[in-house]
């Protein structure tokens, strides 16, 4: 497994899959606009909304990341410190928002902040901005303050899992004797000093990594911005709305220029952010010894009432939009009497598929097919990429290791429009018939999920003691036997988590980020939800049918997470 060829082929395949579409897209956009990518950044002011979008993107992504940390850190702290009953379920509940399709998340959130919704009924009217929120907006002189708050809260809701996944394992597995020893020191008696001089240095890399990833996901936010703060634009939402016309010679060249400049700027910012996160994560893995989380938790004990209330509130925050969404699938408005009634009618429509190109069972089968395909491709590619990075680290080639590490995360930094355009041009050039291939969506799904597989497997590989490898050699195992009899069994829990996550992400992925790659033959559950939500809703069952479809999707995702939680090792931090 350590041969140069063995390493380079999967890495080259993966990097080729990522880089070829980008280069093709850039080539076409440069041709259409006559500008190079850097020049295009400086020409962004030619679009009436681009500079505003750039400014708003940076501000909202920074504020969203800070708010997510503010909400997520106490939860991660409680979750990591104490012995909780049903901790797997709690973790699954808190993680579910992260893999919820954004269009579904937006609907759930709208139900929460809607006129007559829970928040409005307690005086927090984020949608129509009356009362307290209206006064706040007026006093600060910021237009649509309620919409911005809703967006930041939704980003915090969506990314909460990132903070918990990065920080909680570190808290849960830190040897309690370290803290005990620090308490004995004169500076250790003050909780504030303990926080500043003990916990911050211990958790810094995890917190900063969580900040960066939350920043990245908020930076590239599209559906949540469109639904919750429709007056504002992020670079991604601007490109997604306009991007369909990009790359066409002689047609809407302003759009091509916007996409070229916007995607370049976005790519540079996100690559720098990913580079920092990669460096911190690598550093973190060498920092300190860890103990079993069970041991650490037992030392601290059970949570008190306040902490239980806090955790209950967090789970309620995580599940409320999804619960309201489920409720909306059986709550039917009666147009003739201006009232609502309860009915499972929408579920019957959803399963019959009378209003869409496919029924829920058909879309579910498509979704599962792609999810399994994605699992296989992403896990195999991700495994070998992680293995390559780890081997290079062990062979004292850290720079090359980090370069591949950063490049492996490139899909997270790319605009959906850019990749969509690149893949389209690539396939058109190489093999147009591929467009009709039923399994094509596995390609973009795998590209999106492989970085997560790498992030799960790489820390795990770093944790495996090299003594096991040596023991295998002493036993006379060849490299394949060592791989199958030692490495794979040791990595099994992480592989299960990676597999479950790949499937969950594939299930939740929908066409918006792959604007140019949609096809009816690929009707998946998220595409069905999108198809229904984009229809005029004169017929009162349209929205409940969309919500019923989204509920099926949510249940599938939740099931996968519960499975993943049973296998997940909570050491090291990461996804």
């Amino acid at each position: 497994m350590r041969s140069a060829v063995g390493h380079s082929v999967p890495v080259a395949v993966y990097l080729g899959l990522i880089l070829i579409p980008v280069v093709l897209a850039l080539d076409r956009l440069v041709f259409v606009t006559g500008s190079n990518p850097i020049e295009a950044i400086f020409r962004l002011d030619e679009h009436p909304l681009a500079l505003e979008a750039v400014q708003f993107t940076f501000i909202q992504a920074t504020l969203s990341a800070l708010l997510t940390l503010a909400i997520g850190l106490p939860i991660a702290w409680w979750l990591g410190r104490y012995e909780w009953k049903h901790i797997g379920l709690i973790r699954a509940a808190l993680t579910l928002p992260f893999v919820t399709p954004t269009v579904v998340a937006a609907m759930g959130f709208l139900a929460l902040i809607n006129q007559g919704g829970i928040l409005a009924s307690i005086g927090i009217d984020l949608r129509n901005e009356t009362g307290f929120i209206g006064s706040l907006s007026a006093s600060l002189g910021i237009e649509n303050m309620g919409h911005i708050i809703a967006l930041l809260l939704a980003h915090a809701w969506f990314n909460l899992a990132l903070v918990i996944r990065f920080v909680e394992p570190k808290i849960a597995t830190l040897p309690p004797r370290y803290e005990d020893a620090f308490r004995m020191l004169p500076v250790g008696t003050s909780p504030l000093e303990r926080l500043r001089r003990f916990w911050w240095p211990m958790l810094r890399t995890s917190i900063l990594s969580a900040f960066v990833f939350t920043f990245i996901f908020s930076f590239t936010s599209f559906a949540l911005v469109r639904w919750l703060a429709p007056e504002y634009w992020t670079i991604e939402s601007l490109m997604a709305i306009e991007g369909g016309a990009a790359g066409i010679p002689g047609y809407r060249e302003d759009v091509s220029l916007l996409v070229l400049g916007g995607a370049t700027l976005q790519g540079i910012v996100l690559l720098m952010a990913l580079g920092m996160a990669g460096k911190w994560q690598q550093k973190q893995s060498y920092e300190i010894e860890l103990v079993s989380e069970h041991y650490a938790r037992k030392t601290i004990g059970k949570p008190n009432l306040l902490q239980k209330i806090g955790m209950f509130s967090a789970c309620t925050f995580a599940l409320a939009p999804l619960f309201l969404m489920t409720l909306a699938s059986v709550r039917i408005r009666d147009r003739t009497s201006d009232s609502y009634r309860w009915s499972t009618e929408a579920w019957r429509y959803a399963f019959d598929g009378n209003l869409t190109y496919a029924s829920v069972p058909e879309a579910l089968m498509n979704s599962l097919f792609y999810a399994i395909g994605c699992l296989l491709v992403a896990c195999i590619l991700g495994f070998f990429v992680a293995q390559t990075i780890h081997s290079l680290e062990e062979r004292n080639k850290p720079k090359l290791a980090q370069t591949i590490d950063v490049l492996s995360m490139l899909p997270l930094a790319l605009s959906g429009v850019m990749v969509g355009l690149g893949v389209l041009l690539g396939i058109l050039k190489v093999w147009p018939a591929l467009f009709s291939w039923y399994a094509l969506p596995i390609l973009p799904h795998s590209m999106l999920t492989t970085p997560f597989v790498v992030r799960i497997l790489l820390p795990a590989m770093r944790e495996i003691d090299s003594d096991y490898e040596e023991a295998g050699k002493i036993l006379g195992y060849n490299q394949y036997q060592r791989f199958f009899r030692i490495k794979i069994p040791l990595l099994k829990p992480h592989l299960v988590v990676a597999a479950a996550l790949s499937m969950a992400f594939s299930l939740g992925e929908f066409g918006a980020s792959w604007i140019l790659l949609r096809s009816g033959a690929w009707d998946t559950l998220p595409v069905l939800v999108d198809q229904l939500m984009s229809r005029p809703k004169y017929f009162q069952l349209i929205e409940p049918i969309a919500m019923a479809t989204a509920t099926v999707l949510m249940c599938m995702t939740f099931l996968l997470f519960v499975i993943a939680e049973r296998f997940r090792s909570h050491q090291g931090g990461g996804f």
Binding site: L26, I248, P249, Y357, K399, L516, S519, P536
Partner: protein, 380 residues
């Protein structure tokens, strides 16, 4: 001096920047491919593979059930390639012109059709057509595109809100720039919405024919009067408009008493609301637009027989007569109208004097209009 982690990070960042530069500069290396739009149209036929591939947006009348009926009747399997809207169909055809990915384009309207024709994207069909409403053939009457539904885009207003605020129904567009309407109108963008594009086109004709004001001056005045501009019809109608079904939708804000929709939208509201609606279409001369949607064979696409069969199926009584219920649009069959039930017909006025603007002029000037509109409104 041994490497520290800081050193490692710094060097890695330099390497990273180098890689970024490499990716960014790769297209400058001179190996650009040649792209050319043909001056004359050469009609090409693609392969007959027994499957009809349709590029379309989410046309409500085309459901799984309808497609299954078509397959049962004709034996042709159908594959749908959906895009966002009519503009998405044109863009998809333009992008894949060198290797067409669809056999039939379904949903191009008369604001996009001419661009498709100019770019040789369409090919003649051989379908046998029934008698069509002459009105549906006014924007285009040729063998490269067949109308399958139609409607009029116009302003809709909330009668209750106007009454409650003692505002009279507008009879000119200029009235909407007055204080009474400040912040109370919502318009979908012509750059990203078909109804928005249709209405903006109508304003060009309106101000050329009946006003001393220029259309873009009016749009600027509307922006100064805090008009709400949205990317799509859904956002304007569901989120902002107070007179429609949006009041029951999550995300409803309800700050606009007037928006752009179809003249028969109040009829659709009434049809689903037990002959009750507070929304009313506004018939102002030249301020409405006759929109026709087309089915067209794609140049370079295959399955010619299946394309013809689908066009005939689409124009059959079984499908086309039901356009008002299933697609919220008028049928194009001669003698067909909206149903009388539940006030559908009653609440759907037909504009007496819609805008008259040729498809050729739309094609020639649309890009400039959209750019001017953006400059005037400072919106997308």
């Amino acid at each position: 001096m041994p490497h520290t982690r800081q050193d490692l990070g710094g060097n890695a960042l330099i390497r990273l920047n180098f890689l970024v530069a490499l990716v960014l500069l790769a297209p400058l290396s001179g190996c650009l491919s040649q792209h050319k739009i043909a001056d004359e149209c050469v009609i090409q036929d693609g392969p007959e593979d027994g499957t009809l591939t349709i590029v379309t947006y989410n046309i409500f009348a085309i459901t799984d059930e309808v497609l299954a009926d078509f397959t049962e009747q004709t034996g042709y399997e159908v594959e749908i390639k959906p895009t966002d809207d009519a503009g998405g169909i044109l863009e998809s055809l333009l992008l894949t012109q060198e290797a067409p990915q669809a056999d039939l384009a379904l949903g191009l309207d008369n604001t996009y059709l001419q661009t498709a024709l100019e770019n040789c994207l369409l090919a003649p069909h051989s379908a046998t057509l029934p008698d069509l409403d002459p009105q549906s053939l006014v924007p285009y009457n040729g063998e490269l595109a067949v109308p399958f539904d139609q409607g009029y885009v116009c302003l809709n207003a909330d009668t209750e809100a106007l009454e409650a605020n003692n505002i009279s129904f507008p009879t000119t567009l200029e009235e909407l720039t007055g204080d009474a309407w400040k912040g109370r109108t919502a318009f979908p963008s012509p750059a990203t919405s078909s109804p928005g594009r249709a209405f903006m086109t109508a304003t060009i004709d309106y101000f050329e024919q009946s006003s001393t004001m220029d259309a873009m001056e009016w749009w600027k005045a509307m922006a100064d009067n805090d008009a709400i501009f949205t990317t799509g019809w859904s956002e304007a109608y569901e989120v902002h408009y107070t007179g429609g079904y949006g009041v029951w939708e999550p995300g409803y804000i309800g700050d606009a008493w007037l928006t752009v929709s179809y003249c028969h939208s109040p009829g659709v509201e009434a049809n689903y609301g037990g002959n009750y609606t507070i929304s009313k279409a506004i018939d102002i001369d030249r301020a409405s637009f006759h929109q026709v949607e087309y089915a067209a064979k794609v140049n370079g696409g295959g399955s010619a027989d299946a394309v013809d069969a689908f066009i005939e199926f689409l124009l059959s009584d079984e499908i086309n007569k039901n356009m008002p219920e299933n697609n919220y649009m008028y049928s194009v069959l001669e003698g067909e109208d909206l149903p009388e039930e539940n006030g559908y017909r009653y609440h759907s006025p037909v504009p007496s004097n819609p805008a008259e603007i040729s498809t050729e002029r739309i094609d020639a000037e649309m890009e400039t209009w959209v750019k001017d509109w953006r400059d005037a409104t400072k919106s997308l």
